[in-house]
């Protein structure tokens, strides 16, 4: 707030010294995590190369990458990725909007919670894939039923996360807002939203994970394009490299979108972020 005050320059110096070792481990740690899969991949490659395995059912990494490269060259890859991403994006958006709204309402008004929550909890107890036949009957085999299925998967963790977060906002901190006579909207903006944000980001990430899970289910059921279609096609035509290629791309996309949420939220969670990092160090 008063970053132009001269005293601050002294303060930033020791802070930098403290940050240095944690910055090192920040880059070193993901590298450690990559080590194991890398070793496994290289080992498998070596085994096939040495002829100890023919790699027909479990193709070596080089063949998987060749498949990806070929799909990319023919333009197929972009088409499939676009289709899948689009479904996940739409389903995620609808699920998040609905989950956030209903979760916030249930958390904020106890009357709404009594009315709404039992029903939502009962619906949650149904394995979401059980809805698939119904969705197909109601909405057809095309995009709508897929997007709805994904949205359902995303909805529940977001709803639960938001409701739980609103309910567990510290009453003592709300009281601070009251002593400064915050109006309802100001209380939401200045106290409730920031208090809820960390849990909300977690629930978004969980929701996104479920979104990716459900897009596979939706595309396995019937699709003419999409990464799930690649899986199915690979199975029916006996192309394990194509299946693995799709899996690898799923992993990359899942990780990437998750990381996007993390990065987008990071500026708002700096107050908390360093705490987590300090604990992990």
């Amino acid at each position: 707030m008063i970053s132009d005050a001269p005293v601050l320059q002294q303060a930033s110096e020791p802070a930098e010294n403290v940050a240095a070792p944690s910055r090192l481990s920040r880059y070193a740690r993901p590298l450690l995590g990559i080590l194991l899969p890398l070793m496994l991949a290289l080992g498998w490659e070596l085994l096939v190369w040495l002829g100890w395995s023919n790699g027909r059912l479990v193709p070596p990494p080089s063949r998987i990458f060749a498949t990806i490269a070929e799909l990319a060259r023919s333009g197929e890859l972009v088409r499939h990725i676009t289709a899948t991403l689009w479904r996940v994006a739409l389903g995620f958006a609808f699920g998040v909007v609905a989950g956030t709204l209903l979760g916030a309402i249930s958390g904020y008004w106890s009357l709404a919670r009594r009315l709404l929550d039992p029903t939502v909890q009962a619906l949650r107890a149904i394995p979401s894939l059980a809805w698939v036949p119904l969705f197909i009957l109601w909405l057809g085999i095309f995009e709508t039923s897929k997007v709805v299925l994904i949205a359902v998967g995303v909805f529940f963790p977001v709803y639960l996360g938001v409701m739980g977060a609103v309910l567990s906002v510290d009453r003592k901190i709300v009281e601070v807002g009251r002593t400064f006579r915050l109006s309802g909207p100001a209380m939401i903006r200045r106290i409730l939203l920031p208090a809820v944000l960390p849990a909300y980001v977690v629930s978004l990430r969980v929701g996104l994970g479920l979104g990716w899970m459900f897009v596979v289910a939706a595309e396995l059921i019937g699709a003419s394009e999409g990464l799930g279609y690649l899986l199915l096609d690979g199975q029916q035509l006996g192309k394990p490299a194509q299946i693995l290629a799709a899996i690898v791309i799923f992993a990359i996309l899942g990780k990437l979108t998750d990381w996007l949420i993390e990065v987008a939220a990071a500026p708002f969670l700096r107050w908390q972020d360093a705490f987590v990092r300090a604990k992990g160090a």
Binding site: A5, V7, I173, F180
Partner: protein, 261 residues
């Protein structure tokens, strides 16, 4: 002037926490409230702050009845209750959102200077020690320049040394604008160091038992015999308040009658 007129509070569970508490507190006076655990001190303070409503009786500040939080009344709790997502400076400026940015900055900077935390302006609350955090809470409550500042055992979670430091600090800050201070404490020493007047409460139901004027100049010497005397009389009164065989003095009618003792 802050006037409490027969303030009573019965909680929904039937506990009568406060019964006909009356007192008049002059602008700029420092009043310490002391009494056994559960005698309604926090309840009283929350009623004055407008956080809870009294079941009956009235709290008036300068002829204005208080039933919800008021701009002229600030409160500091036992815990600092800083907002963890705001920097120290933003925490202090929390109650100044209506002011233009320049003035807010200027007042926050001055307050930071005043509580000796200028170099912590951009720190997060979790990076502060307990004493520092409580100083930020004091600054946050003082920066909107309240006429009345309520403190509910503000230093009780701190070690003796830090507590003394903050008591001196509080007096220092008080001298700037001389708001009315109403301080709940368990610490007789603290009451006698800070207060112009000590109100002793008695439990079940919480009511006013005694008042002791501390006629000592400032700064006060904690080791002077006079200081010891006042401490002793507060302690005696506190003991009597907890002794059920001692009858109630008619202290609930107002300050006048209890003062001759």
């Amino acid at each position: 002037m802050l006037a409490l007129d027969r303030v009573s509070k019965t909680y929904p569970n039937g506990v009568q926490a406060l019964a006909r508490f009356s007192a008049e507190i002059r602008q700029g006076e420092i009043v310490a409230i002391i009494g056994g655990s559960g005698c309604g001190k926090s309840t009283l303070l929350r009623a004055i702050a407008g956080l809870d409503r009294a079941s009956s009786g009235t709290v008036t500040l300068d002829n204005e009845s208080i039933s919800s939080p008021h701009a002229k009344i600030g409160i500091i709790f036992q815990e600092p209750r800083l907002l963890p997502w705001l920097s120290v400076a933003d925490n202090i400026g929390f109650g100044l959102a209506d002011l233009p940015t320049a003035e807010r900055r200027e007042r926050v900077a001055r307050a930071l200077e005043r509580v000796g935390l200028a170099e912590k302006a951009q720190a997060w609350p979790r990076e502060l020690s307990g004493g520092q955090a409580q100083r930020v809470a004091i600054a946050r409550a003082l920066v909107p320049q309240p006429e009345v500042l309520l403190l509910d055992e503000p230093f009780s979670a701190l070690d003796a040394f830090t507590r003394r430091d903050l008591q001196d600090h509080l007096l220092d800050l008080w001298a700037d604008a001389r708001p009315t201070l109403i301080l709940v404490t368990h610490d007789v020493d603290e009451a006698v160091v800070l207060a112009d007047r000590v109100l002793v409460m008695r439990p079940r139901p919480g009511r006013l038992f005694d008042q002791i004027e501390i006629n000592l100049g400032r700064p006060r010497d904690r080791n002077s015999p006079l200081f010891e005397n006042f401490k002793r009389s507060v302690l005696t009164s506190l003991d009597r308040s907890l002794d059920r065989s001692v009858p109630d003095r008619d202290a609930t009618q107002g300050p006048g009658q209890a003062m001759w003792w």
